[in-house]
């Protein structure tokens, strides 16, 4: 077991894992609680934009798939809340932080989903970007987080594939459907690019989190991987990526791409506007409307104890 800073440093240096009963620096603990909790909040809030389409899915198969995906996202939230709790905070404290906006969720879920094609674009691009982020997190220095990520990553693959398949079906459909797919790509491309966070030059905690083994690649490295993977996929769909600066750079062996609108990103992170307020309201309503279920469970448990005694 790790008892002090020196032993902690040795384990991190050797790229081994920290476990919940180990000593760890207060900042390491705080950083992880925040990151894991915000990751959990994102999974839970992320159920909303897609959940809104379950009742309008175009076939029974698509409805089953989307229901299964939204169930998975709920599960991811629960894996992650469980991992965060190994660091000290209680579940109710974590939810409180979400409900009072003291902790954030990924701003990608502050964009609207006006058409069925958005469900396709989310699966393909948003889950695709999430996978890009989450695969290296499987090797996070904090054991319980890494292990939760392994489970999550196993489940994510179908999310991306079902989304791409929706896009493919639309792209091969009528002219109107093709336009729908293109417009959804236009809406989700830049927000997905910005999911990796601010550029490395402005990312304050990159270096420290890399040294701690919480982060394995910088924001810009992950972003580049995402662009390189997604552009050929858009070509298969016969759709155009909405970036006039996008060009293959032979020398670098990567795509060059344009600068996202970071002002819009910061607005989204601050959660200003009607949609973010609605996300929290919907979440709070679900929580409050579920209060009687929690109370009933407690009353039932108390009664069973009474009967047993």
């Amino acid at each position: 077991m790790i008892r002090n800073q020196d032993q902690f440093d040795v384990v991190i240096e050797a790229d081994q894992r920290i476990e919940s009963d180990d000593w760890m620096p207060e900042d390491y603990r705080k950083t992880l609680i925040r990151q894991i909790a915000q990751h959990a909040h994102s999974e839970i809030i992320g159920m909303q934009p897609e959940g809104a389409w379950i009742s309008r899915a175009p076939s029974l198969r698509r409805k089953s798939i989307l229901t299964a995906k939204v169930q998975d996202e709920a599960g991811h939230g629960l894996y992650l809340y469980g991992a965060a709790e190994t660091l000290g905070p209680d579940r109710s404290e974590l939810l409180e932080m979400l409900h009072t906006k003291k902790q954030k969720y990924s701003s990608i879920f502050n964009y609207p989903t006006p058409t069925w094609a958005d469900v396709g674009a989310i699966g393909w691009l948003v889950d695709g970007a999430a996978i890009m982020n989450q695969v290296p997190l499987c090797r996070c220095s904090y054991g319980p987080y890494g292990r939760a990520m392994v489970r999550v990553c196993k489940e994510e693959s179908f999310h991306q594939r079902q989304g791409f398949q929706i896009m493919l079906t639309l792209a091969e459909g009528t002219e109107e459907q093709k336009v729908m797919a293109q417009e959804a790509l236009n809406r989700w491309w830049w927000p997905s690019i910005m999911m990796f966070g601010p550029p490395d030059t402005e990312s304050i905690h990159n270096a420290r989190n890399m040294a701690w083994g919480i982060k394995r690649y910088t924001n810009d490295e992950l972003r580049q991987n995402f662009v390189d993977a997604s552009v050929p996929q858009a070509e298969v769909l016969g759709l155009t990526v909405p970036d006039p600066d996008l060009v293959w750079n032979e020398e670098r062996g990567h795509y060059d791409y344009g600068e996202p609108d970071w002002e819009e990103f910061m607005q989204m992170v601050r959660g200003e506007g009607e949609l973010p307020a609605e996300r929290i309201r919907t979440r709070l309503d679900a929580h409050n409307e579920g209060a009687w279920v929690r109370e009933a469970a407690e009353a039932y448990a108390a009664k069973r104890r009474e009967v047993a005694a």
């Binding site: 081994q16 920290i18 476990e19 299964a68 998975d72 292990r147 594939r161 079902q162 791409f164 298969v236």
Partner: protein, 94 residues
């Protein structure tokens, strides 16, 4: 060994970064001797770096008779697996 001793389930973490895994059980008078017994019985060859013992009577297990109703509903839902989605060869590694 007194017949009145409880049974303890033993979980061992093989190394940092992996889950505790169920290794088996031991008889012991209390939690401390259960840990010692587990250590002697299961980690003579450095099989682990951490041991958990849990009183067997504290383990709540699903009823074997409920197996069908608990686990059958997940059957036939192939769409929960990535292999259920046929994609063009160029993007099939996705």
């Amino acid at each position: 060994m007194s017949p009145g001793w409880p049974l303890w389930e033993v979980f061992v973490r093989a190394r940092r970064g992996v889950n505790h895994v169920h290794f088996g059980s031991v008889h012991a008078a209390d939690e401390e001797t259960a840990l010692q017994a587990a250590r002697d019985l299961f980690t003579r060859r450095q099989e682990g770096v951490s041991i958990w013992v849990v009183r067997s009577s504290d383990v709540v297990a699903s009823d074997p008779d409920d197996e069908d109703e608990l686990f059958d509903p997940a059957e036939g839902k192939d769409y929960r697996f990535p292999t259920d989605y046929k994609l063009p060869a160029e993007v099939d590694h996705m």
